[in-house]
């Protein structure tokens, strides 16, 4: 009998990859603004549904974008840009107003929950609550076997995307003046202002970058498993758990936490029902909150 372990490992890495993409953007925004941006989850869904609209729902656009692989890449790019735009607009018209009024973190949380609910409802109205998929039929799926585990082409793209984005983002934040400014804002926004750092512009860019990454996560989930308007909350919660156990505000910590979560979840349900997956994830979170609340890596 073949061992199930290679496939469990592959599943763990794939799940970790998706959570890592969400955690990367979430951590970046949290690092600069210090609030739990719940809209991050629905922005991922917006990225996915944008690609769904231009490649599946709208026939005239679909005929253009589905012509070649280049068209698909272009569609993904539009989805990512659309998610980035929504993130930018949310910051400009909601979160910036709250920052100007020196709103408490609780106000930010409630406001982002409200925006999340509105945008999720908007997606359900536009696209119905029915499950949709971005990919082709089961026969079109390209798979690879690595160390005995099977992964699809989309799942391989997820892994490559996580590695590339993590390295580019990590180096950019560490080496650039922009990254230093983000770090300064994260440490003390008021002092950052009085020494001349353009805090509002930098926070806007952080929202754009973080939301773009969330959008990519939503698109890849759409190609891998499918889309539904409520997918944002599930993605967000896993991304938040990954961020907390990895070290909130730390780009590398979020990725580390995501893969740990992926492994614990998938190996946790080896011998028991898959229904336990979320319970295991939140159990891991609780253990970390008690034993190591600062996460694996400090900011």
């Amino acid at each position: 009998m073949e061992s199930i372990v290679p496939q469990l490992m592959a599943n763990s890495i794939i799940a970790g990859g998706i959570y890592a993409l969400v955690a990367l953007g979430f951590n970046l925004i949290y690092g600069a603004t210090k609030f739990f941006n719940l809209t991050h989850g629905v922005i991922a869904a917006i990225g996915g549904y944008t690609v769904f609209y231009i490649t599946k729902k709208n026939d005239s656009l679909a005929s253009f974008f589905n012509q070649s692989i280049g068209g698909t890449v272009f569609a993904v790019l539009i989805g990512v840009l659309c998610a980035a735009l929504v993130g930018y607009l949310l910051d400009k018209f909601l979160y910036k107003k709250l920052r100007d009024r020196k709103a408490s973190p609780m106000v930010f949380l409630v406001a982002s929950l409200g925006a999340f609910t509105c945008l999720q409802a908007f997606l359900a109205i536009l696209f119905t609550s029915q499950f949709q998929t971005l990919g082709g039929g089961a026969g079109d799926i390209v798979t690879y076997t690595i160390f005995g585990g099977i992964i699809t082409e989309v799942q391989a793209i997820v892994i490559v995307s996580v590695v590339v984005i993590m390295l580019v983002l990590g180096i950019f934040l560490k080496k650039s003046l922009f990254g230093k400014s983000v770090e300064a804002i994260s440490d003390d926004e008021h002092v950052a202002k009085i020494v001349g750092i353009h805090t509002e512009k930098i926070i806007s860019i952080v929202f754009v970058i973080g939301s773009a990454i969330a959008g990519l996560a939503g698109i890849l989930v759409g190609y891998d498993t499918g889309l539904e308007p409520t997918m944002g909350m599930g993605l967000l919660l896993k991304g938040v758990i990954a961020s907390i156990i990895g070290g909130i505000g730390n780009v590398y910590g979020g990725v580390l936490g995501a893969f740990l979560l992926g492994f614990v979840e998938n190996f946790g349900i080896w011998k028991i029902s898959g229904e336990w997956k979320d319970a295991i994830a939140f159990g891991l979170l609780i253990v970390f909150l008690i034993v190591r609340p600062q996460g694996i890596l400090k900011r």
Binding site: K175, S176, L177, F178, K180, S181, E183, A184, S186, D187, D188, H190, V191, A192, K193, I194, V195, G196, I197, H198, T199, E200, K201, I202, I205, R299
Partner: protein, 248 residues
Amino acid sequence: MHTLQTKHLTKHFDTVKAITDLSISFEPGKITGVIGPNGSGKSTFINTLTGLTPITSGSIGVAEKVELTSIVSNDMPVYGITRTFQEVRLFEQMSVLDNILVVTTCRGWFKSIFEKHSAYHLAIAEKVLKRVGIWQFHNKLAVNLSYGQRKLLEIARVLAMSEIGKAQVIFFDEPYAGLFPEMVKLVSEIMKELRSEGKTVILVEHNMDLIRELSDKVIVLDSGTLLAEGNANHVLSRKDVVEAYLGE
């Protein structure tokens, strides 16, 4: 040369009158000591002038050119105003060197994506960190410095702002608290240097010996109003000041 003036400056927190109708002028090339008992409104006064707390009414005049009825933190470098804090505020998770470099090199957000620190900026950082005597810790995280070193790093940040021309008016909020005698001497020397460079220096301090030694003018606040202003020795010998400040 920068002056700073307040005209009928008032700050009320609901029913609490923190500052009422303060009209004060700070002159360049002078150190103005601001004293007053606890709760007299000193911190609120600084916070309103540095954008931390919005003004209820009145105005702030900067360099006899700009009349502001509100000031936000982002505007402070534009008007050449900077400050230190009673409770030191640093970029804790950054190195000592980066705490200064992020000040000297910050400019347009777009340029910040592509630009790096130049030798010029590094030279400024090295100069100010050596001036306050903490260059040897430049690779250490700010959070790991001792209390005195943290105070000195905050003063180095002010000096860096001054070097790049973004600090003409400087508020020092109890800079001597918790410092060793040799550090006190160093900070006093720095303040005198800033005065000789024509900066407008405002010193909030409880140590009367230091106020006498450094201040060209002293302002006494009591219950958010101006109780007295003038020459240090003269003001500090006034009976009403002694009564208000020392409770005698």
